[in-house]
Subunit: 478 residues, 2 copies
């Protein structure tokens, strides 16, 4: 447990400068406060929480910049943090130092509906932005499962996505520009210093270097986001398949027919079981290996048409099929998918669901074999798990369920996770589709990227010569 | 004219090594060949063609890598080139050296329809790829006007887009990974060395640093592209507006209604005139300031529904309106937009259309005032021009028409271009939405980007310490 690591206290000059920048009320030093900042939603940091030495709560770009300058001058590690809903330890201090809490920089500065843009601070919660956009008939599409809690700054740092990435793409596609505090404390604006253009190819697009860099290259302090029209309504087709392979074929047939669903979700047989345990009235067919939930969106007539086309395509492969283009009925059908993350915990009495090895992605064609192989690995280690995910992207969330008091199980689940990650790479996939690297997947970086890692490290050294920004993550310089 | 620049001949050792790498047949040195490589589609290089000292035609990554290593060893400028359809001088040698022709690395290596991906060499023409994808019901959406000629490597280097970016986004959104030869000659693969995943957040996404870097950071030798389902059919609504402001309001009303057209194109009064001159039977209403052409796509029923919704929204603002969901009729309505690039040349007897100042982008809300202001500037300099473009993105193509034998006009058009670029920046826009910087817009980089330029330059120096790759472009180190 890293809690016991002995660190020399931070230089008193650093503390005193932090006090000047943030005032006494936003400079936190108590051990209780440090404990709060010592983990995120990852299994790893739940097992091994890691405390910063101090935490500060920023309210402005100026404060962030001053804090970074100070950290750079004294070579103190600095860890930016949003809502800490991440599952990789990305927002946790691994080397003591300063935790920089950005969650209160949460103002929506402008909704420019005419220009289909929003200007926000990084601490704005995804769902709060979308609620504010609704009256304008607009949306910010990337929709991680944690949308009710996660900050958009965190989404940008991890290039998050979610259910609807199959139609709407990932966070990257909605960032037009950003204000960034560099590891030197200098402030830049990407995508044009004063631009509100929706499209630009002027210069290197530094936003795209920053997006997904998990706070290792700069701290986002302002975002200019691209918005899309909010679809009028949605339709659902829920269908089940005797064999995984038929589910894969159905997905392919849907794409080949020219349909572009807004979500294509899969749940395996264990998820079906779990959902039925949690909500028996949903009554998902239990003799099936997989359930697919397709969502389409658009205006009423278009949704009805798409639901009908979808039905026609998938009914050749499916054993059972339910559908609707009525909002209330859709909500019910969608419930099965919505509940699954919580439901898998029921697969084992007294068990809890672990977030580890939970984000692999493989080519769609290799999904059936990958799902089977994960269950083989799980069986080998005596672990129960339910698998669900964004099948249209090949992204699967494995949900192992363990009993925390069972030490063997706690060890076995980690071995299982290691094998799942190796499997993903062997299947021409990746260890992480949307959650990120942080500390939990750093060890796979060299094998995934080969010589490209040296370019990443060279860029890190160029922008952060003192390696102060979120050090110890992503297999960058330590 | 730069043709007359005296350069010391390339070191005989360099020539002899190039001969070893490429053989005598693919090492070109004659002045006629050098002339062929001395310009692209920009006005600037038509006025001032710039010859490389030698040109080589690459057929493999190995050859590219060997050539780059050689250039790096002898510090010889190296200019990668695709089809040279660019309008910025980006693919033209400004410092002599070696021209590296990639247009014959044009194999489609794999169409993996199950995984919605294609693996190609950079010299593949956009339209050739889409023809090959059609039987699978798939498409590579980015669609520049030069789609019949331009290479996808060039599109990636410039982050090109086109008519349908308003729905489908830009080239960047379709690059999953790439093989890149770095300025040292080392070869990396971005997005996972062996990955075929559709989504990944593992590591910095170096592809996104390379995309739009105009060949200054690396040479793309292989691309892994994301494909989308090809829509079944399309529908068109063509409408005209007494005043530009009403056209802007119509665009806004369409977005607010939840519609997502696949294209929204604008033509100003001069374009209307020009199109009527070229094709009188189109009979566009001449008493109007603007025509908008909306395209929607999907299955037949959905297109019909969208066309009806569109009509209902825009008829409040428009003076005339035509529409169709029948392919033949749509083709006719689309013609007006298709012809406009060529038609503007008719605005002035004996004139030709110049590609300069042709790619600005402003916030949608400022389009009417920007269009009016461009015509004011044009009038001041006595230049006729037609303006058209992708109004849904705020991207306008100004088409000035001049007589090349009129020296005053040739000077005035350049002054006009300068003012158009300054106007774009003043309107919170950019000098280039999709064509790039190259040499023609390098001088605006510092004003557009401010301190962010220093980060671009630092990255350039890190990856290309000898500044051999496409030097003299984008206001990077010279």
């Amino acid at each position: 447990m890293n809690e016991t690591i002995e660190r020399a206290p931070l230089d008193e000059k650093v503390i005193s400068r932090l006090r000047e920048i943030f005032g006494v009320e936003r400079l936190l030093t108590s051990q209780t406060d440090m404990m709060t900042y010592s983990y995120d939603a990852s299994f790893e940091t739940q097992l091994n929480p890691q405390k910063p030495q101090v935490a500060v709560i920023a309210l402005s770009t100026h404060e962030v910049s001053e804090c970074v300058k100070l950290a750079n001058e004294y070579k103190v590690p600095l860890y930016p943090r949003g809502a800490a809903t991440g599952q990789t330890g990305g927002a946790v201090s691994t080397k003591g130092g300063i935790m920089l809490d950005l969650s209160r920089m949460n103002r929506i500065l402008e909704i420019d509906h005419q220009n289909m843009q929003a200007i926000i601070e990084p601490g704005v919660i995804q769902n709060d932005l979308n609620l504010a956009l609704k009256p304008y008939g607009l949306q910010f599409p990337p929709d991680p499962g944690s949308a009710n809690m996660c900050t958009i700054g965190g989404m940008v740092s991890n290039n998050s996505s979610g259910l609807r990435a199959v139609k709407y793409g990932v966070t990257r596609h909605y960032v037009l520009g950003m204000e960034v505090v560099l590891p030197t404390g200098d402030v830049i604006v990407t995508g044009g210093a004063k631009s509100k253009a929706l499209k630009s190819v002027s210069g290197y697009d530094l936003a795209h270097l920053m997006i997904g860099s998990e706070g290792t290259l700069g701290i986002v302090t302002r975002l200019r986001l691209k918005l899309l029209p909010l679809p009028v309504t949605r339709g659902i087709v829920l269908c089940s398949f005797e064999r995984l392979e038929s589910a894969g074929e159905a997905v392919n047939a849907v794409f080949s027919s020219g349909l572009q669903p807004s979500a294509i979700e899969i749940m395996d047989f264990n998820c079906i079981k779990a959902v039925n345990m949690m909500k028996p009235e949903l009554n998902l067919p239990v003799d099936n290996e997989a359930v697919l939930v397709f969502e389409v969106d658009g205006a009423k007539e278009e949704v009805t048409s798409q639901v009908n086309r979808l039905k026609k395509v998938v009914e050749k492969y499916a054993t059972h099929l339910k559908f609707s283009d009525e909002p209330n009925e859709c909500e019910k059908l969608w419930q099965a998918r919505k509940l699954v993350g919580a439901a898998v915990g029921l697969l084992k009495p007294g068990g809890f669901r672990v977030y580890a090895g939970e984000d692999i992605c493989v080519p769609i064609s290799r999904l059936p074999e990958t799902l089977r192989e994960i269950h083989n690995i799980a069986e080998k280690y005596g672990i129960v798990c339910g698998i669900y995910g964004h099948v249209g992207d090949g992204n699967m969330h494995t949900g192992p369920v363990v009993n925390s008091s069972n030490e063997v199980e706690m060890e076995n689940v980690q071995k299982m996770v290691e094998e799942i990650h190796q499997l993903a790479i062997r299947m021409e996939g990746t260890t992480t589709a949307e959650h990120g690297v942080g500390i939990v997947r750093a060890k796979y970086m060299d094998v995934e990227h080969g010589p490209a890692m040296e370019v990443m490290r060279a860029i890190k050294r160029t922008l952060d010569p003192n390696n102060i920004l979120n050090p110890g993550k992503m297999a960058l310089p330590n």
